[in-house]
Amino acid sequence: MSEPVIALHGVCKRFGPVWANREVELSLFPGRVHALLGENGAGKSTLMSILAGRYRADSGRIAIRGSTVDFTAPAKALEYGIGMVYQRFMLIEPMTVAENLALAAGRKYDRKSIAELIKQTAERYGLAVDPEKPVFELSMGERQRVEIIKLLMLDADVLIFDEPTAVLTPPEVESLFAVIDRLRSEDKAIVLITHKLEEVLQLADDISIMRKGRLIFSERIDQRQISRQQLARLMVGRDVVLRVDKKPVTIGETVLALERFSGDSPLGGPAFAEVTLEIRKGEIFSIIGVAGNGQAGLVSALAGLSPAASGRVMFAGKIYTAQQWDKAAARDIAYIPEDRYHTGSVGSMSIADNFALTRLPAYQTGLAGFTLDREQMAADGSRAIAAHNIKAGSSEDRAGSLSGGNLQKMILARELTRNARLFIAEQPTQGLDIASTEDIWRALLACREQAAVLLVTGDLKEVLSLSDRIGVIFNGRILDIIDARDGNQVDRVGLLMAGVQA
């Protein structure tokens, strides 16, 4: 067996109170594809950013062919042959492919040899792309190819792909896999960060799984010897369910019912399809799934932020077609979005201002509601700070100065104040510490006394702790709806998440 190209030893990285990486040991070998799996927030991207020189580890060391190195910048990591293809491409859109590559190459090549090199690399690895086209005219797949050529041109031996298929169409995925195969046969070491088990089974030689910052599994595998079931179990885990004080609530009327509700993905094809479910007052209905299985599109369509394609929605006794639903303006839905920093709040505005974001009409006074009642906003903001134990100086502090947990509590407080009949919480505790997580959980449980709660998450522990019923989403479809009290059924959730229907 060959020596590892690169090895991480005892790598730790903290962001405030949250451990993004904890004592991680990882080795990468030439000519092998290493799949790095884990839920959102498990620490995969942080780990790879450390490897690629974007972050520095708090402790631990990186060894390249046995000798310790210290990366102060991505350029430094590239000198050692480590490059990363980020999810968001680092290209200058108005410039052509050749110009982008010339920029990346610095003084290493002149323009003529760049064109030659693009041609050679394209032929060698099957990375066809027109060097004279400006980047903004390229598809996502072509842009990704430019990024790969960029790294190969700089003689990278280690290529890290951060969820490379997330933005690709199915045919583009196929050709990416062919390229990765080609890279492997050229003895490159490849890291594939992904959520998708299919991809792992198809490509990986080694598999590592991260959970909550730790590497919980890392092995060389023979692709045929590990099953989807095993992978799913390892990935999702089977943590002890926290004892949450869950007082019984009488189930009330149906608040939301979806009938064959479908929506299209911006990449083409359906994002979610034929979703049929019912949520009643007094219950927490969870939709769980591995990220990228259509749950984001479903929530966005439910919240009216993107149009649905077909199906019917029954809400609060009224029936809407998919087209009407998108436009039905006044809806009684409170919603905690996944992105709390740029969607759920405005960081550069005060807490009082943020308290009005989704509740503007409540503060409109004067002629035609023209004036904003700032005193009331400030008063409500201060009250929320006290009631939800939000750590902030005053309601005039900028929302951006709050920690993730406190910011999420502020958003939660705001949405609770709306007294909506349906409460949607999307990944509400992602990246939060335990204390904040418990606060949010308690609030969601209390919320179901007045409303129907739809919880959308990838965290199995969260689902098992809170839900009454669980819908598992895979490939845009709800595979099954499971009663959370039924212990035998609950074991199937992890398998269903992996798309295994037994």
């Binding site: 962001f15 405030g16 949250v18 993004a20 959102n40 927030g41 498990a42 620490g43 995969k44 991207s45 942080t46 950013s49 972050y55 919240a303 009216g304 932020l305 303006a329 919603y335 979005p337 992105d339 709390r340 920093y341 740029h342 969607t343 759920g344 709040s345 405005v346 960081g347 550069s348 505005m349 201002d353 009005a356 974001l357 989704t358 503007l360 503060y363 409109q364 509601g369 023209f370 004036t371 904003l372 700032r374 900028r398 100065s401 993730g404 992602q430 990246g431």
Partner: protein, 367 residues
């Protein structure tokens, strides 16, 4: 090693820090330029200062120059609050002037002042707003970049104005000089204390206060602020982004249009060359110098106005080209942006611990 480090929270009064940097850098650039002309910088600045402050009359000229600058500064600022770049205040100013002159000369030529003055003010706002509606619709409906459209429409506006006063609106009794006839006296804005400061100046101050109120105390302004800062949050909250692009651009155009009215009805009393002298572009500098704060805009406008008056003094006293004030103006803007960047950083001396806030990046940015 001394190094720059990004601050976690912007410094308090960041705008003042940046404006301070801007002034210092402009001052230094001015010293270099005066030295190049072989003139003692101190003497040059003294001449400028003397030109501005020597008499009440000379200082009043600063406020005369500041009047259109306040309007165009407000125009640029209100658009910029929503991340719209209105480079077209110049053209909107021209249309404000055309509408004001047209109203006074052809629509209500015999009306008394109490009717005509409000009419020219309203007409100029309407003219500017209508002109800015073109780029606004293109932007809102078709995502056409407003920087280009607003800029290019300036030339269209100016050429059309020239067509008017060289052609159909030319004064028949004007001995062939380009320009319209003089506006009826009822359309002249009153002037104060024997100076050229007109009603336009208090009107501009009033507009600044109104805009401040509108942005910070109204539901409309709240939505504009959210849209300017986080588009995704605005969509999440269900705000009508398209509608706000239209209303903000129209308000912006209305302010610029009133600048044209203040010039035509307060200074020139006719439509003629000399209306489009760059106040629309200067408004960009005023707006950013004031940190987009409507209440700070009059002060920034006075500063720039003083620079112009001082620049004229350089010409008449020291025989220097008055365009030096344009160089100083450029240096002011350049210094402003340098200052804005710098105030986002702090100097870390060797051996001192870095800002603890910096390491605690938001975890979401990384995982």
């Amino acid at each position: 090693m001394i190094r720059l480090e990004k601050r976690r929270d912007p410094v308090r009064g960041r705008g003042f820090v940046a404006a301070g940097w801007a002034t210092v850098i402009a001052f230094i650039v001015g010293c270099v330029i005066f030295a190049c002309f072989g003139i003692d910088p101190i003497a040059a600045y003294a001449a400028m200062g003397k030109g501005i402050f020597s008499s009440f009359d000379s200082f009043s000229e600063v406020l005369v120059k500041a009047t259109p600058l306040i309007f165009t500064g407000l125009a640029v600022a209100v658009a910029a609050m929503m991340m719209l770049w209105n480079i077209g205040a110049e053209g909107q100013l021209v249309w404000g002037g055309i509408f004001a002159a047209g109203t006074a000369l052809y629509v209500f030529p015999g009306a008394p002042a109490w009717l005509l003055v409000p009419a020219v003010i309203a007409a100029s706002a309407l003219g500017g707003a209508a002109w800015s509606l073109i780029p606004a619709v293109l932007r809102a409906k078709f995502q056409v970049n407003e920087i280009l459209t607003t800029l290019l429409l300036n030339y269209v506006a100016i050429i059309y104005m020239e067509h008017l006063f060289y052609g159909p609106w030319r004064d028949p009794a004007g001995f062939g000089f380009p320009g319209t006839a003089q506006l009826p006296e009822a359309a002249h804005l009153i002037r104060f204390a024997g100076t050229r400061i007109s009603l336009g100046f208090p009107l501009a101050l009033l507009c600044a206060v109104l805009l401040y109120y509108l942005v910070n105390r109204s539901a409309w302004g709240y939505q504009v602020r959210v849209i300017g800062r986080e588009q995704r949050a605005a969509r999440y909250a269900g705000f009508n982004v398209t509608g706000k692009v239209l209303t903000v651009m129209m308000l912006s155009g209305a302010f610029a249009g009133m600048a044209g009215m203040a010039e035509v009805c307060g200074i020139h009393y006719r439509l003629q060359t000399g209306l489009a002298v760059g106040y629309g572009y200067d408004g960009i500098i005023v707006a950013w110098l004031a940190g987009l704060n409507p209440l700070a805009i009059p002060f920034a406008a006075v500063l720039l106005g003083a620079l112009f008056v001082g620049g004229e003094q350089l010409q008449s006293v020291l025989g220097l080209p008055s365009t030096i004030s344009l160089i100083l103006e450029g240096a002011l803007l350049f210094g402003l942006f340098v200052g804005q960047v710098l105030s986002g950083y702090r100097l870390v001396m060797p051996g001192r611990s870095p800002d603890p806030g910096v390491a605690a990046d938001k975890p979401e940015a990384s995982v």
